[in-house]
Symmetry: C2
Subunit: 432 residues, 2 copies
């Protein structure tokens, strides 16, 4: 029996998504149907404990062995023919944003569960074990570090740092370590790719953007994640009276900032990247006073690290030029907040996804895509072959209760995941 003939149970995955949403944190009604809400399931909360317990119970029933690592990440491993080698992994996260939807992260873990259920029902034994991973705190909403546990596992951050992170959503802040202990998920497996290895990491996720929907594609073959850089830009001018200060005597910080925002968009457009300003503060914020100080965040992105660096460099140059042209008392400063390098997924994994998607839906329904946002796969990709599968997001909406993909899209993505993982399993065997 080849994996392409596995019988699947259409609709069960979506039922499971809705079941866990309803049982563990449904919130944010956006329609009359019972399934038309979002989910609020903050990491390491009581609701998170409940969904974790449920997940372990479900996977144990399928014959999985369970490991919990020091960061609370759960590894539910389904045995293969040769269990002496590391498992092929399917991972994502069951935690959500405070105003989260039903699909972000959850779709990835529960699709992994559905893969295991399908194997079990078909009595299909893969060549190597397959593990489904629930990574702790991907969202960074309760504890301010996104992609937390997978970054610990990939040794890109140290344990002490994550243990001491303090919650920002509790009136009395608590630490990650405290909450891991409290909900009983401080495991004894070392959180390290060296001590708890996997052979590869596949992740299915909603796109969280409008590209697939706009182009009527079913599947996005994710080839990497774009780089991004965050800066705080501070424009200092001079507050003065709107009525008594002629243009020639102004140092209008907001006018200068406005020109910078427009220019940043121009530069990013020219270089094929992105530029966004999400936060802008000004003072003194009085209707008849010209703002003396403006600060804004700059979020610049590009698929290539070097072009992102160029984008930032051009923005700095042009913003400085604008500040000089905008009044004798204007200056601009740039505070670096964070840079995340571009991630390129592994050709083997990409090929498995590409072959599976094309075979299932035809070339016209799939496209390669770069992820705009970060995922646990960014962390795993630093250590093991990794790639991702995207399905369309309605209106590109995410981090919002109205996050939605159609039942068909949910099912389609799952099938691509199933085939991709088993094709990779076969590839490992072929190369032995």
């Amino acid at each position: 029996m080849t994996f392409r003939n596995l019988k699947i149970k259409p609709g069960r995955l979506l039922e499971t998504i809705h079941e866990t949403a309803s049982s563990f944190g449904a919130k944010g009604i956006w329609g009359p149907e019972k399934t038309q809400t979002g989910v609020c399931r903050l990491t390491l909360s009581d609701l998170d404990k409940q969904v974790r317990d449920w997940f372990i119970n479900e996977t144990k029933q399928l014959g999985c062995s369970i490991k919990i690592d020091e960061a609370g990440s759960i590894f539910a491993t389904y045995p293969g023919k040769d269990n002496s080698l590391p498992p092929t992994a399917i991972g994502s996260h069951l935690d959500t944003q405070p105003t989260g939807g039903r699909y972000d992260g959850v779709y990835g873990v529960l699709s992994g569960l559905e893969v295991l259920r399908t194997l079990k029902e078909n009595q299909f034994v893969p060549n190597y074990p397959i593990t489904v991973i629930n990574w702790t705190n991907e969202e960074g909403a309760r504890f301010p570090m996104s992609i937390m546990a997978s970054s610990l596992w990939s040794e890109q951050v140290d344990k002490k740092t994550i243990y001491n992170l303090k919650s920002v959503t509790d009136s009395e802040p608590v630490t990650v370590e405290h909450e891991l202990k409290r909900i009983g998920y401080l495991g004894d497996t070392k959180a390290s790719y060296k001590h708890n290895p996997i052979a590869a990491h596949f992740e299915i996720h909603i796109e969280q953007g409008p590209i697939l929907e706009n182009e009527h594609k079913e599947i996005g073959i994710v080839t990497g994640v774009q780089a991004y850089a965050w800066y705080k830009v501070k424009v200092s001018g001079k507050a003065s009276h709107t009525g008594t200060t002629p243009f020639s005597a102004r140092s209008d910080a907001l006018l200068a900032a406005s020109k910078m925002i427009a220019k940043g968009n121009e530069i990013a457009t020219k270089l094929g990247g992105l530029f966004s300003v999400g936060i802008l503060d000004l003072s003194p914020a009085v209707v008849n006073v010209i703002p003396g100080d403006v600060s804004f965040t700059m979020d610049a992105r590009h698929v290539k690290d070097e072009t992102l660096a160029q984008l930032v460099e051009e923005a700095k140059l042009e913003f400085t030029k604008i500040s000089k042209e905008s009044g004798k008392s204007i200056s601009v400063e740039f505070d670096h907040i964070y840079t995340s390098n571009a991630v390129k997924f592994h050709p083997d994994c990409i090929k498995c996804v590409s072959d599976s998607a094309t075979q299932l839906f035809g070339e016209s329904k799939v496209r390669q895509i770069t992820s705009g946002a970060g995922h646990d796969s960014c962390a795993t990709s630093a250590r093991v072959p990794t790639s991702m599968i995207f399905i369309p997001s309605r209106d590109g909406v995410s981090h919002n209760p109205e996050e939605y993909s159609t039942p068909e899209q949910v099912e389609n993505g799952f099938q691509v995941l199933l085939h991709s993982v088993l094709q990779y399993d076969q590839l490992r065997k072929d190369r032995e």
Copy 2:
């Protein structure tokens, strides 16, 4: 004896300014000297009562009769030869902004007092009475209506409206009527230009802008006050992820607003007016979310009402165009807040100021100027011949403790006021 030969006491006016500042509300230290603070003397506060009591005592000592009107405005009238006709008035205000300086308003009232002191010392009897007016609540800082009592006097607002105004600077808001009663300044003179007439209104004030200083002028002959219009502009776009939303799919409300702000400045520059955005709010205000909603205030000004209307109209058209070009989900709305028409001062009064200033300092040291900000003279100008005199403001700074004019500038302005008022007094006589 002609009024041009009156002996003056140089320095006394500035001493009085500093004396009242120190005694009644000094606040906001900006230098080591005792006089290097601002003043916080909110209208109808205890400090305002104290400076009013002091002012009445000073003017009574000069032989003035005192009238207090229903809005608490004080009219201290120095007798002339013919007291059957209305007095020529010198008016301004003793209240300040919360972060006020020592000169805004105060300089005008105390210069009026200095005029009366000079007349008394020189035993100079004007043809008609001269009244010095302290108008209540010019600033609109404690009770949110600027130019309040003079607008009641000119019957441009009704008494009930001002009596019911609630304070915005008290933890327990109180009304104007309550505070007038509490400090004992709810007078019985009807606040009306018909029942308590004046023949003309002169006001000396700091420029609150940088024009005179930049052009090395001593005196500004104020010919009028520019018109202004305030709008709230609401830009509605669509919030979305900065990383996953390509430019083509964005409806970035902040980018559109930024282009509008730059365009508004262009239009105003072209039409010889002013355009300023003092307040800008956006949501959701998250570093990696494109703002879905932005609202900003638009403060447009021009010396001509019709050109101001054109400026606003062009801004509306261009902003709508920008919103249409900025994404399929972007729209813009304009909420009108307030329009103040242009004010043209009276040629007779302007001539008195112009003659006096030119005779004292020469043509090269004076210039005609349009006031950028509103003053009590805007209200009086609707009913009686009015004009104003400006002296330079260091760096154009006002509504700030660091508001400053040199002792010489303070003295120069006073001399122009003295001569202007007495020239007008003579003009009235000549025309009888």
